[in-house]
């Protein structure tokens, strides 16, 4: 069920942000209103799933700062992008492990993209679930696109 997969994605994302970036989910665990966020990273887990993580800019810099272990307030390119894509790489890899995908399924390289999951909006063979959550009181939007064979 795709609803179970989004719960899994939330859990994995929080775990990775905790382990690698020392960030925690906000006390308010309820979903926040989805909003347009500027940094979107996509990764494909085999042919079946595409994951999208959409970062609020303040959260993006906090993640990169903590990941790199620096006190610098603003993280310059390319370290900002590479910290975010590395986090998404970990999320994607752990998603594949947790869903026991066959060993031939390929994890794509994570990439910062312009288009979002709405590119699949008119494809009847794709189901999409998206949720916005809070990390350190900043929004993070998680999306799964499940492609049917």
């Amino acid at each position: 069920m795709i609803t179970e997969k989004i719960e899994l994605l939330k859990r994995l994302t929080f775990n990775i942000l905790k382990e690698m970036c020392f960030l925690f989910q906000s006390e308010d665990l309820s979903s926040v209103q989805s909003e347009e966020l500027p940094i979107l990273v996509r990764i494909d887990c085999g042919k079946k799933y595409s994951l999208f993580l959409h970062f609020d800019p303040i959260l993006a810099h906090t993640i990169a700062r903590n990941f790199l272990g620096t006190a610098q307030e603003v993280i310059e390119s390319p370290f900002l992008e590479s910290a975010l894509t590395e986090v998404v790489n970990m999320v994607g890899g752990n998603f594949m492990n947790a869903t026991h995908m066959e060993s031939t399924a390929h994890l794509s390289l994570p990439e910062i993209v312009e288009e979002d999951w709405r590119v699949f909006g008119h494809d009847p063979r794709t189901r999409i679930v998206t949720e916005a959550i809070k990390v350190n009181d900043r929004p993070l939007q998680l999306t799964i696109a499940e492609h049917m064979a």
Binding site: I16, E19, A64, L68, F79, N89, G93, N97, S103, L109
Partner: protein
């Protein structure tokens, strides 16, 4: 004498993080970096590398292709390799172990885990590898 450590990862952030974590092991090290397997092979050809940390999922030449090349080359097949990857699927870990990987570390990792594994490899009794860069054949 410094230990020469090669870090292969397409993410500059992860290379930086690994350097910080490796420094926690308290060993005298010099770092060499590569962003894919091709650059990794090049670094091996030009420097006496004691330990390699490599990712698997990389552009141009991925970690498995790199491991195969290293494994087949007698000048480098004794370099201890630690794979640091998000991959946790058993079949892929077994494939990496068949290619002589010394250890497999899953991301996200604990800093202590990296330091411990490095100490196990470079601990007491470790002899620096001979410099074989001059005899290294092309890959």
């Amino acid at each position: 004498m410094l230990y020469n450590i090669l870090i292969i990862d397409d993410s500059p952030s992860m290379r930086k993080v690994l350097q910080k974590v490796i420094a926690m092991a308290g060993l005298p090290v010099e770092y060499f970096e590569a962003s894919d397997g091709i650059q990794g092979l090049d670094q091996c050809r030009h420097h006496r590398i004691d330990v390699i940390f490599t990712d698997l999922n990389m552009p141009n030449m991925d970690g498995f292709t790199f491991l195969k090349q290293i494994h087949q080359n007698p000048a480098f097949d004794d370099i201890p390799v630690l794979v640091v990857s998000t991959e946790g699927r058993t079949a892929l870990i077994e494939e990496a172990l068949k290619l002589g990987v010394a250890n497999f570390i899953n991301k996200p990792f604990q800093a202590e885990e990296i330091a411990d594994k490095l100490h196990n490899i470079l601990g007491e009794g470790y002899d620096h590898r001979e410099d074989r860069t001059t005899e290294a054949p092309d890959f």
